[in-house]
């Protein structure tokens, strides 16, 4: 990691815009170099002290006016505190809010109401004449490659032009609006961003996105639309995915109006619920079963990806190297014939019961077996028959008492005709003297995984 990458990641961490992948990189950097951790802690302290210095006089005036407006009685103070704490409970949805003033006299109330009415009328008139100019979102972080028509390599700090179509080739990109709304586009996603109407609009053409939306004006909600549905958002956290003519919405906070375009039927999806808009399904909301994405780090897959010049033309031993690092659920790993393959992922596991599914199959010759470990504990094992190449699902259930754990799949194959020492040496694999067609044997086992998480009551 270069110094400039490091300072950029640190800033993203301090500003709360860092991605999971980058946070893991920083964590690794700190683990390698304790001095860097101390230095980052100093940066962390100064960063928050600088934030604390901001407009202390204004802040003091706000607190003071709150107290001045309240009566001296304890009951008023309690009401004030309760109002503040109710507000804190919704802080994520309302980034900028001032303390309400309780205990105002009725005269003040009516005067304020009259003033508010006048302002409202003025506001409506102004609104009818012009739409507010909303700046486009800014790239907060990028892992991998993302681009627009105008910018082939989007980097942090770039500001999207009106109508920009963002495509994420790999990794993910997080965009931030000036009001703090964060939109993360996943790998393979294409989405168009527009603000021309005076409201934020995102057209999700393919793939999926996560959104953490700051409170929007009721008459200018953020609208995320796909080819067949729209999610109308005034302040929430959600995930939206579009594939195979269906749109799936998960709401983690707040409420979203979810509307199918073909017949305008809609459903209100509350926090903790999800819904799907498709041609053949009713628009209803279902309770969520939280799914934990399982991030694998492939640690060992033999000679995968290596090529050799020895005894003949260059040939790839394996047709494709599995992606390193981030293999989310639905990803896959390959067992190398004759050598075990270890696939592991570190995941935070809050206390609860988990079910891990592994999808796998035998291919060609050899019998596949694999074991699943959570930390050091073996939670299950499977042995293939070597007779079928059909995909199969195996399910493993385990308990976690909390904390992060490594989930490891260790696979082996039996019956492969290739001696292990030959595979490891690599150079002996090619040429007329070698009796094996290695290319045909690359995928004795493929594993994909998904994990379901059921929290403790």
């Amino acid at each position: 990691m270069t110094e400039s990458d490091y300072s950029a990641l640190l800033m993203q961490l301090l500003d709360g815009t860092i991605s999971e992948v980058d946070a893991e990189k920083l964590q690794a950097a700190f683990a390698r170099d304790p001095d860097r951790l101390t230095e980052a802690a100093e940066q962390f302290r100064i960063h928050h002290m600088l934030q604390g210095l901001k407009a202390t006089e204004d802040f003091a005036a706000r607190i003071q006016s709150s107290l001045r407006a309240s009566s001296a009685s304890e009951s008023h103070v309690r009401r004030l505190e309760s109002a503040v704490m109710r507000g804190v409970a919704h802080a994520g949805r309302r980034p900028k809010r001032r303390l309400r003033l309780p205990g105002e006299s009725s005269f003040n109330f009516y005067a304020a109401a009259a003033m508010f009415g006048l302002i409202l009328i003025g506001g409506v008139l102004l609104y009818s004449l012009s739409s507010p100019d909303i700046p486009g979102p800014e790239v907060a972080s990028v892992t991998g490659i993302a681009h627009t028509e105008a910018d082939r390599d989007l980097r942090p700090g770039a500001i999207l032009a009106e109508g920009a179509l963002v495509r994420v080739q790999n990794g993910s990109i997080t965009l931030k609006y000036p009001d703090g709304t964060l939109i993360t586009l996943d790998r393979g996603t294409a989405a168009r961003f527009s603000q021309a109407s005076g409201a934020k609009a995102i057209e999700l053409q393919s793939g999926s996105l996560n959104a953490s939306v700051a409170r929007q004006a009721q008459n200018r909600p953020l609208i995320v639309s796909t080819a067949n549905a729209s999610a109308i958002v005034v302040g929430t956290r959600l995930r939206l995915a579009f594939a195979n003519s269906a749109t799936e919405l998960h709401v983690y906070e707040g409420t979203v109006k979810f509307q199918r375009k073909s017949d305008a039927s809609s459903v209100l999806v509350n926090s903790g619920f999800w819904s799907v808009a498709a041609a053949d399904s009713e628009m209803v909301a279902f309770p969520q079963t939280p799914i934990m994405p399982l991030t694998f780090e492939l640690e060992d897959f033999g000679n995968a990806g290596r090529s050799s010049q020895a005894n003949g033309p260059t040939r790839q031993i394996y047709r494709e190297r599995p992606p390193l690092g981030d293999v989310p659920h639905g990803g896959w790993a390959i067992a190398v014939p004759g050598i075990g393959t270890t696939v592991s992922g570190k995941v935070p596991l809050p206390s609860g019961t988990y079910r891990l599914w592994v999808r796998w199959r035998d291919e060609n010759r050899g019998v596949v077996s694999f074991e699943v470990f959570v930390g050091e504990k073996l939670v299950g094992s499977v042995k293939g028959s070597g007779k079928s190449t059909e995909w199969k699902w195996s399910e493993f259930e385990f308990e976690s008492k909390g904390g992060a754990a490594a989930i490891t799949l260790r696979s082996t194959t039996e019956g492969s005709a290739i001696p292990e020492d030959k595979l490891k040496s690599g150079t002996d694999l090619f040429g007329p003297q070698h009796p094996y067609d290695v290319v045909n044997r690359w995928d004795q086992l493929q594993i994909t995984s998904d994990m379901q998480y059921r929290p403790d009551k």
């Binding site: 709360g16 962390f44 934030q51 407009a55 202390t56 802040f59 505190e81 929290p455």
Partner: protein, 187 residues
Amino acid sequence: MTGELDAAVESVKAGDREAFRVVVRETAALVRGYIGFFLSDKAAVDDVSQAVYLEIFKQIGRYERGTDFAAWVKAIARNHALAERRRRERKDQAHSNYVSQIRSILEAKALEIEERQPIQEQISRLEQCLAKLPERMQSVVKLHYHEDYTAGRIAQTLKSTTGAVLNILYRARMALSRCVKAEGVAP
């Protein structure tokens, strides 16, 4: 504790509500900076700070003159910040991640430093140190921390690059850290 703050605390205890403004003004940077150690969301820091001051106002009669007012305020701030964080963590349990892990690591380290160099001793020097930074560095820091400009917008404003702005912010924080530790020596 400054003489002005000391006098203001005593005035509030005696029933002078207006004096509370001085208490807030003199301690707001400390309270908001300290709460920031526990909560990453700026809006939450502001909201919790407001709740903290209401608590301070309610409890100020219990504060004993001559004891460390900043430490007393920090204890209230810490309790409120941790309660808010626990509430957020319960809500986001299924989404706990590397980001929260790494923030916890930094927070622990920052609190370890806090034992040796309390924030209340450094924050009063921070403004002086800020004024001693080179002009361009000072502008970048003020745009980011006082005007809420992102690095990208600062780069546009100053006709620079985002990377250069991030680098300036990084160096500025290091210079300020050295300066406040050295009791106001020019960075």
